[in-house]
């Protein structure tokens, strides 16, 4: 696993797209692993009573996947220092989410890189996010 070189990045550069299949197993498994027992993430009747067709992915998981998507690209020596997400259409079982990111800004002094991420599913926009990473600077790693 390599970490991207700060000096090799370009504003507007795209991250490779990732497609994540959503299943009931995944929605429930990720909710439990994030210690989120809110009923709409594991109980389809409760979801129905709440006005949605099925259980859906929880925000802690959306956050985790957006972060992991960016650090998979950036590499193990990149550190996330900030992550903002805005949720749209839920991720329901049977759907899939396509994550796409692009580099928004690069600060070669501090090593801070901002990556914009969108995650779309068949209903539309699931997540619009922004991840700020700190990459090793050339001074630290000549």
């Amino acid at each position: 696993m390599n970490t991207v070189a700060l000096t090799a990045l370009r504003v507007g550069q795209d991250l490779p797209v990732e497609v994540i299949a959503i299943s009931t197993r995944m929605v429930v498994g990720t909710a439990i692993a994030t210690r989120d027992f809110q009923d709409v993430h594991h109980d389809s009747k409760a979801a129905c009573d709440a006005g949605v067709p099925d259980v859906f992915m929880n925000i802690l998981t959306t956050n985790a996947l957006v972060g992991r998507y960016v650090t998979d690209w950036a590499g193990p020596h990149a550190r996330i220092c900030k992550i903002d997400v805005k949720l749209g259409a839920p991720n329901f079982p049977g759907d899939s989410m396509t994550l796409a990111g692009s580099v928004q800004s690069i600060d070669t002094d501090s090593g801070r890189v901002v990556v914009a991420v969108v995650g779309n599913n068949q209903l539309g926009s699931h997540v619009i996010g922004s991840v700020t990473l700190v990459l090793p600077t050339p001074a630290a790693h000549p």
């Binding site: 696993m1 692993a33 994030t34 006005g51 972060g67 193990p76 996330i80 900030k82 903002d84 949720l87």
Partner: protein, 168 residues
């Protein structure tokens, strides 16, 4: 309904059931597809510049979750931090979804760290018509601390409380 009186209200502390631990980290990484070895192997963590195995920053909120029983360890403030939930439910806003989350990570978390957080209600908005129904929005800012009372991060959370039944 008017929720303005909740603005500025501070609540906490909310203690964690579990200290930062490797089994929970491993299980979270397993379901999320996270393969960074710094989260599971000592050597890889040091090579990445950490003191020791570090928790994924994205797990910060996980440590403070109430869990299956919806309760908190002794020493925590009682009830949900969103104290307006009862009033909203009474008024028919029984559906809840998270709509925004903004996090900042200030310090790495290491195995054995004990996390707690404190909250402040930042703003309220609504009612607004949404695809799920008429909704109220409440934004809360949480500050997370370790056992040395060092701030390890912040989390701004906006919840949408809605009346199920659509926009009719």
């Amino acid at each position: 309904m008017n929720l303005e009186s909740y603005i500025g209200q501070k609540n906490g502390p909310y203690l964690s059931w579990d200290s930062v631990n490797l089994p929970m980290i491993r299980q979270w990484c397993e379901v999320m597809g996270e393969k960074n070895p710094a989260y599971q192997e000592e050597q890889a963590a040091r090579e990445a510049g950490y003191e020791a195995i570090t928790a994924p920053p994205l797990m910060m909120q996980v440590w403070g979750m109430a869990g299956y029983l919806g309760a908190r360890p002794e020493g925590s403030a009682t009830g949900p931090s969103f104290t307006m939930i009862a009033e909203l439910e009474q008024a028919g806003y029984t559906g809840v979804v998270a709509v925004n989350c903004e996090q900042e990570y200030l310090l790495p978390l290491y195995l054995g760290d004990r996390i707690h957080y404190e909250t402040e209600c930042q703003s309220v908005a609504g009612p607004k018509q949404t695809a799920l129904g008429e909704a109220m929005f409440v934004t809360e800012l949480s500050k997370y601390y370790n056992q040395r009372k060092e701030q390890v991060g912040t989390l701004l959370f906006r919840l949408m409380f809605y009346r199920p039944g659509g926009s009719a």
